[in-house]
């Protein structure tokens, strides 16, 4: 199965098998769809998302474009590529800003996804845009989480609001807003503790923070290496919290990043940024066409 490196090779091979049979038929297209299905699943796109996607692509592919084409493999790849980009949405790296500052951004997600690092990167990016960010250490659970954010703040020379680990995250967030108001900080970026979407107590904590400070942007931070569980995670965070967008991290690795499709498909929320490394300048706009090509191995 894994003989072919990427989807285009696979499809070319599939169509080669069909050559000499004359006209490409609808069944032939089904055969090719099976190859696409495998490629998407191997890229970690969610099973259910793949199912819907294949249906849609097939509908387009059995149209005249492919059947009549002299290069059916190329045609199918083109359709798949276009549909992938469509599913991933446009480039939307903008953040909502509050009519009256400060704009409050809250980062949430599973353990180890890259929230704290992304908070630092985002602060760095916003400062480059002329903003005055404030980082907020609201992870009171992970060992040395506060210190981690403080070190990043120091490296960036951006202030970090912290109250230690014996004050509730809600009170830290509230305190941060007061601090921002009195110190002229116009962007407040809140780092929260990593948590499992099934942890009710910790999901409640996020709801409480949201209720208390009404953030303008809740960004779900998702590791590009995430597998099938991405769907459930994104669905739950979105249902319980209402996310506004996604940051995909660790795209500097060699994971295909199919989780992006899943997250986008189930939440409908845009992927706003891509994490491209551990350094604090490694945050980029998210380019759907690049990810689509990456999934297809192009």
């Amino acid at each position: 199965m894994a003989i072919f490196e990427n989807l285009s090779e696979r499809l070319q091979a599939a169509f080669k098998r069909l050559r000499g049979k004359g006209k490409v038929t609808e069944e032939d297209v089904s055969e090719v769809m099976r190859e696409i299905r495998v490629a998407l699943l191997e890229a970690d796109v969610s099973y259910k998302v793949v199912k819907d996607f294949i249906k849609k692509v097939k509908e387009r592919a059995v149209g005249q474009e492919v059947l009549a084409s002299l290069t059916p493999a190329q045609q199918v790849i083109k359709i798949v590529h276009e549909e992938l980009i469509e599913l991933l949405g446009g480039i939307q790296s903008r953040l909502t800003t509050a009519p009256k500052p400060p704009t409050v951004i809250m980062l949430v997600g599973l353990q180890g996804a890259g929230k704290t690092t992304s908070a630092g990167k985002l602060a760095n990016l916003l400062r480059k845009q002329g903003k005055k960010p404030l980082l907020v250490a609201a992870d009171i659970y992970r060992p040395a989480a506060v210190k981690q954010l403080q070190v990043l703040g120091e490296q960036l020379q951006i202030p970090v609001f912290a109250m230690g680990t014996s004050v509730s995250a809600v009170n830290i967030a509230k305190g941060a807003l007061e601090y921002a108001a009195s110190h002229g900080r116009d962007m407040v970026i809140i780092d929260t503790a990593g948590r499992l979407h099934i942890n009710e107590e910790l999901m409640q904590e996020l709801q409480d923070i949201k209720a208390a400070i009404k953030p303008h942007e809740i960004l779900l931070v998702v590791d590009a290496m995430t597998g099938q569980t991405a769907v459930e995670v994104a669905e739950t965070f979105n249902a319980q919290l209402g996310i506004d967008g996604v940051i995909m991290t660790k795209l500097d690795g060699d994971a295909k990043g199919g989780a992006a499709l899943s997250v986008r498909a189930v939440t409908g929320k845009p992927i706003k940024f891509a994490g491209m490394g551990e350094k604090l300048d490694a945050l980029e706009p998210f380019y759907p066409d690049r990810l689509a090509s990456r999934i297809l191995g192009m």
Partner: protein
């Protein structure tokens, strides 16, 4: 009636359940084919019986090797912990230190992640929790030098085990993988047969990329065992089946939470049963 027939629809659902557990398409299809064969051979009419057959098959793939840690090193054993960013290396080290200490071992930790912000502080907190000594240098210093110092300390204090933390690194970054080799070389200058274990930490929420991680860390660092973390969530970590199938590296421990006692020796049978224990698998 009373039971469900193992028909085509059943096997399709089974394949779906496997893929959703991150087993991967190829391995899922192989498992289903194998099951279909067994089904014919043994003339199985009741699909519910197949669940156990499959669990056995998976447990067989996962469980052939010894999961015991090699702690026979002299004068002490060295465990090197590696993996990509954020998978749970430092936390696992904290848990493992406590686990070994409660077996009467004298443990020393080496703060070999000198790169990530507050990684040293994080390990120190774990050292305090577990009640074991942590050898550290300044942030930004050479990780191999920290490992070397920890070896000296272990010798002086007559420790049984040292566990070396390393910075998270993506396996496609060649220079970072080279750094691991350097750490190993320095360790081996002190104790030639060290490290006695190289544990690769994998996050159970990771999809098919974990196969690449295992391959490349395996080549660069000579991985001897896997720790599969974050199994307390809904992720099944099924990719481990492909990894074991291809690379024969045993899973030694699993992480099931963020607390010190949330580390367990790997139990293939339990893991295999949990793979199918989801609502999508309907009447299986």
């Amino acid at each position: 009636t009373g039971y469900r027939k193992p028909d085509e629809e059943f096997f399709e659902e089974l394949e779906e359940a496997l893929i959703q557990a991150d087993v991967g398409v190829t391995t899922s299809m192989q498992l289903v084919e194998k099951l279909q064969k067994i089904c014919k051979e043994r003339r199985i009419e009741d699909a519910s019986l197949l669940k156990d057959v499959l669990a056995e098959e998976v447990a067989r793939i996962l469980g052939e090797e010894d999961i015991e840690l090699n702690l026979k090193g002299q004068p002490f054993s060295v465990i090197l912990v590696v993996g990509v960013n954020g998978v749970g290396k430092t936390t696992t080290i904290g848990k493992l230190a406590w686990f070994l200490k409660s077996q009467g071992k004298k443990v020393i930790l080496a703060a070999g992640d000198t790169f990530r912000a507050a990684a040293i502080d994080q390990l120190e907190i774990w050292g305090n929790r577990a009640g074991v000594e942590v050898i550290k240098h300044q942030e930004g210093s050479d990780p191999a030098a920290v490992a070397f110092d920890a070896m000296q300390a272990a010798r002086a204090r007559k420790a049984d085990v040292i566990i070396i933390d390393t910075a998270g690194r993506l396996h496609n970054k060649v220079n970072l993988m080279e750094e691991l080799k350097k750490i190993k070389r320095v360790i081996q200058r002190e104790v030639p047969d060290a490290p006695h274990e190289v544990l690769l930490v994998l996050d159970a929420t990771t999809g098919q990329n974990a196969v690449n991680q295992a391959k490349i860390f395996g080549e660069a660092a000579g991985v001897t065992g896997i720790v599969l973390t974050k199994l307390d969530g809904t992720a099944k970590g099924g990719v481990i089946i492909s990894i074991k199938n291809e690379l024969k590296v045993p899973v030694k421990f699993i992480g099931i939470g963020e607390k010190m006692e949330d580390l367990r020796p790997f139990a293939p049978q339990e893991f295999a049963s949990a793979l199918f224990d989801r609502s999508d698998a309907k009447e299986m």
